[in-house]
Symmetry: C2
Subunit: 342 residues, 2 copies
Amino acid sequence: MANRVTLDDIARKVGVSKTLVSLVLNGKAEQFGISRKTCERVFQVVKELNYRPNQTARSLRTGKTGTIGLVVSDISNAFYAQMARIFEDLAAAQGHSVIICSTDEDAEKEQRLITVLRNRQVDGLVVSTSQREVSWLLSINKYDTPIVLIDRHLGDNVLAAVVAANRTGGALLARHLKEQGYRHPLVLGLSTSLISSVAERIDGFVDEFKKHGVTCVIHAVGFNSLQSDVDALFANLKALPVKPDCIFAVNNNVATAALQSISARGIRVPIQLGLVCFDDLPYFSIINPGITAVEQPISQMCRKAFELLHQQISGNIDRSNVSIYEIPVKLNIRESSLKKFS
Amino acid sequence: MANRVTLDDIARKVGVSKTLVSLVLNGKAEQFGISRKTCERVFQVVKELNYRPNQTARSLRTGKTGTIGLVVSDISNAFYAQMARIFEDLAAAQGHSVIICSTDEDAEKEQRLITVLRNRQVDGLVVSTSQREVSWLLSINKYDTPIVLIDRHLGDNVLAAVVAANRTGGALLARHLKEQGYRHPLVLGLSTSLISSVAERIDGFVDEFKKHGVTCVIHAVGFNSLQSDVDALFANLKALPVKPDCIFAVNNNVATAALQSISARGIRVPIQLGLVCFDDLPYFSIINPGITAVEQPISQMCRKAFELLHQQISGNIDRSNVSIYEIPVKLNIRESSLKKFS
DNA sequence: CTGAAAGCGCTTACAG
DNA sequence: CTGAAAGCGCTTACAG
């Protein structure tokens, strides 16, 4: 079942020691002045016997597995699925692999999954965390596992983090809506609003409207009861203190749930209700009306996070002095927020 | 950096051998008649020192890594992202992890990625293969790595495979379109049409129309130039021998590209052009018109594949006698294919 | 230029 | 009930 041809087999067949073979295979032939001839014999036998190094044995010896863990709330969410692909490519470029973990926004599940990952000796962790406080992650990062947070941070100067310009993005959406004449915004948030990204999107949005004397209504829906919560809200839209004239969906899943409700109820966008979303999706530009959205710089975020992670892995960084990196976002204006002025 | 507390540390502190500790930790205390008292002392020290077993060392010894590889064309594709999530959950239920790999429909890249995975000693592989022939995968499966194909098979009785009822699904769509009065179908296929799933969808579709004397036009677009190829087609729709009155998109990506073009050109669906897709997406039921689609039984497919993989891993199966499992699909009829009869 | 030996951290016969 | 020892397949000082 396992790898049947080992270094020893190669060594025996070539008639050298396995030290020699290992050196050659790891590209240290030159460094150790091993003759070209010997190298060729080694390579030939390696090919002949179809030798593949056992990465598990190598990992045990070197302490590196060439594996990183990607921990997110749900890998099937388009945002994280894209991330997974980018990290996979980044990792593959250096022969590394990525293991995926979905936490379902559950802080304890996240800890369990990360523990499994650490037992597997992953070289590092990229996590879109569901922790409410930094202590647990900090404790494992301090002298041990390299960690970079992505999408969500846990406060200044504790854990390296790469996030989108969430506050700015929220403000951009608010300003746009305000300019279009909307005056009664409803923020469709998540019950997990403690997470920094959502909180900051909402803050940026609300603050911007406040500048103009407009108070936003905020309504939180559950991560695990998204559609039903949204449906319930739409069923009672008129029951709200002020009937909203536009909606801000704080992420792609919320927007999709809202659109589902809107579609089912035959609400006309943007005439009856404006709609904007933080996070862009391919179908937002296909449908009619197109959905105005803030586009996240996923690729840049991943690249930066990967870079930061490798600084930690290679050890050339002072972990007591880390930063939060904020990557600019882009506003894509489409018809869903273009109010016909009356 | 690495795990600093080992079995030896526990053994020393408790004052027993590491054999004893290992036995206790692996739940073999009862079997070896180890006293309850000893067990408790072990567990206490394990907790005290915060011991975590080194999975790499364990894997080297046992030959099992508790890891499976999921190899697909693109993990960011909604279909595969969903699969990833389901496999992750299935694996996690027994403490296993999944490593993702995206092949970009490149058979050689697939082989390279699988080789990396095998070097990592994964216990098994689930692959939506891009191989054109079975030989390579078969050779590694024969006496070595457990493999189950998913979504695409490579012929009868060679490698275990779980696929959707692709031919039936194609036929269902064709019959529906035919009943709606469409007479000039255009199949939007992929240049990778050699893969069984796409080929069978097309076959089922074409055969059904042929029964009624209708010949389908088939147009293949490139996996890596999807949108531009689709755009080019739509720009010259009238140049086709027969102007199509409906389109069959063979997968979700093709459908999205088609919708993009349709939207950009202001083509009205279904009045001017009917549209159906193999593979359902959440937004298909949101937009107006809704898109008629065949829904794939992803969850069932994954469960069956996982089960088959575990039969191979645990060794209780005859690998020379494998089957292709076909899981039924469901037709979701929406407005995009409802022709107004004139 | 090359090899013998130690050791990474486990599990598992084997012996008592 | 418990322990000493071998060994999984590598890499890496160390010695010559």
